[in-house]
């Protein structure tokens, strides 16, 4: 299965992936309207220090503990893509407590969100990958 992988040696720490992610998931057509002057809630985030930086998003693990731990039955595995049913999530954050990669966070409404590989909103290539200026984020089989 194709997943998102990062190469920290190439990451510039520019945070464009965060903006592209928030825009792609906003449902809006205009990036300015979607993001300008608002706090953004991307499903990918940049970690780093003065020496390195890299993007973190859901690893879509082969044995995802978030799915097994969700007390609301709201996280499931759809053909390898781990997805959240926002309608069922109660925001208990058990998934945050168990995810070894820190890949989940609450959205602006207190409901859990995570990378779903842009399966619900784009043409097949995740927005973070498409917009990465240095190819530090890729979408491929490994």
């Amino acid at each position: 299965m194709k997943r998102i992988y990062v190469n920290e040696e190439w990451c510039l720490g520019c945070h464009l992936c965060e903006y592209n992610c928030a825009f792609a998931n906003s449902g809006l057509k205009d990036m300015v309207e979607a993001l300008k002057g608002k706090p953004i809630f991307p499903r990918i985030h940049i970690e780093g220090n003065e020496k390195i930086s890299y993007a973190v998003s859901c690893r879509h693990c082969t044995d995802p503990i978030c799915v097994k731990s969700c007390i609301a039955g709201a996280i499931s595995n759809k053909d390898g893509v781990i997805v959240v049913d926002k309608n069922k999530c109660v925001g208990c954050m058990t998934c945050i407590l168990v995810c070894p990669y820190g890949a989940l966070a609450l959205n602006e409404n207190g409901v859990m969100q995570k990378c779903e590989l842009c399966t619900r909103n784009s043409d097949g290539t995740p927005a973070c990958v498409k917009g990465c200026p240095n190819n530090a984020i890729v979408f491929e089989e490994r």
């Binding site: 997943r3 992988y5 990062v6 920290e8 690893r59 097994k68 407590l97 168990v98 990669y101 490994r142």
Partner: protein, 409 residues
């Protein structure tokens, strides 16, 4: 053809069904359910009370779950097991035969023998959706509620009731709330938020007897109430195994494969006890993730596969009125602490490894810490001083980052 039988219909049972089906598709699965509902999300009953969810959303699995897994459900109580004839006997005498059996009977509220409890008109437990429905029906804005027990169940119940009653008072013999998972300082922060939201506490004090709508406390005080909720604790439902001579302590003893001491019988979930990976002690770890994983593990092994649940640890994510605490593992180790006015981060280490933590008001990416406990990662391989302050992968080696973000995991 194999006949898989599961006693119980909670999350451990759902995990068991999915574990069996991940391994084989031929055998017939029969679920024996005392509760008259398909599997639902039990921990959501307080959210139901609060009207943050509903019966439809509380379904743990989609409609058609049992049918699509070749599974039938008998809505009756199992009263005994005949281990030599290999069948389960139901309340009406019906027998259900098995080739392998999983006991996933959960736990029941423990109600101490209070003097005069029979004089209380409206007394509830808070374990099942039926309990929540009954309590909801009785609630109104002119009623005072007394909850005995300031643990996870009692406090989630208090939050769920919120302003749907005239008052909510919680008492507990322990001197702090959530005494099984938090220490004094962490509990105090949580308690303050609950108090600010209108919940009253009587700690270090509890009811000793009842007289109608009056509780007489250990301290001699009396508390008037219209509705009483008893949430002092739960007991594993282990009688079916104890009655046939299987090993039972506080819960049914299982190994890492989910096997009990009785041939062809497995067990999973809140009715079991297992070895806590963080401190090596035998205990009942009644939390939903472990119920699912234990059930799944048992299911795979029942169906002829081989898998183990080697690292169960206690872990809780619990919030009230917007403040959240996360805890995991055990606390008998060297303490490292970072705190600010409204947040506490406490970490406990032993033999160069993280064995437990408490986080209040700061939970971002806490799973990175949990994973250090569950995977027993030596702290010498990372920068623990940095990691304690911020949970992220900058504190790990470039090699481990490459493994996590550069390959399939």
């Amino acid at each position: 053809m194999d006949k898989f039988v599961i006693i119980g219909n909670g999350v451990a049972a759902a995990g068991c069904i999915e574990g069996i089906r991940s391994t084989e598709n031929e055998g017939r699965i029969t679920v024996i359910s005392e509760e008259k509902h398909p599997v639902y999300c039990r921990p959501l009953i307080s959210y139901y009370l609060e009207e943050k969810t509903d019966r439809e959303k509380m379904k743990y699995r989609a409609d058609g779950f049992y049918e699509s897994n070749g599974c039938s459900v008998i809505f009756k109580k199992a009263v005994s097991i005949d281990k030599s004839k290999r069948h389960v006997i139901l309340e009406d005498g019906e027998k259900v035969s098995y080739t392998s059996l999983c006991v996933a009977t959960g736990s029941s509220p423990f109600v101490p023998p209070f003097e005069g409890l029979d004089t209380v008109k409206h007394c509830f437990s808070f374990m099942t959706i039926d309990d929540a429905e009954a309590l909801k029906k009785e609630l109104s804005k002119d009623k005072d509620v007394l909850i005995i027990g300031a643990g996870l169940i009692g406090l989630k119940c208090a939050e769920g009731i919120g302003d749907r009653a005239k008052s909510v008072t919680v008492c507990d013999l322990a001197g702090r709330i959530l005494s099984s998972i938090l220490d004094d300082d962490c509990a105090a922060i949580m308690q303050k938020r609950l108090e600010d939201s209108g919940i009253a506490f009587m700690l270090g004090d509890s009811a000793v007897k009842f007289d109608g709508n009056k509780a007489i406390m250990k301290s001699g005080k009396t508390v008037k109430f219209d509705i009483l909720v008893i949430a002092v604790g739960v007991r594993a439902n282990s009688a079916l195994i104890r009655d046939i001579g299987g090993n039972v302590n506080r819960g049914i003893t299982v190994d890492k494969y989910g096997k009990t001491s009785v041939k062809n019988i497995y067990a999973a979930g809140d009715c079991t006890e297992c070895v806590d990976y963080s401190d090596g002690m035998n205990k009942v770890i009644a939390i939903m993730p472990n119920a699912y994983i234990g059930g799944f593990t048992a299911g795979v092994n029942m169906a002829g596969g081989k898998t183990e649940f080697a690292n169960p640890i206690p872990m809780n994510s619990i919030g009230f009125f917007g403040i959240h605490a996360m805890t995991a593992g055990s606390y008998d180790g060297e303490l490292f602490e970072d705190r600010s006015e409204n947040t506490i981060r406490r970490f406990f280490t032993k033999d160069g490894r993280l064995i437990g933590f408490m986080l209040v008001g700061c939970n971002e990416r806490a799973g990175i810490y949990t994973s250090l406990i569950r995977e027993r990662i030596p702290l010498s391989t990372l920068n623990f001083d940095m990691l304690r302050k911020t949970a992220d992968f900058t504190s790990f080696s470039a090699e481990s980052r490459k493994h996590v973000f550069g390959g399939e995991i």
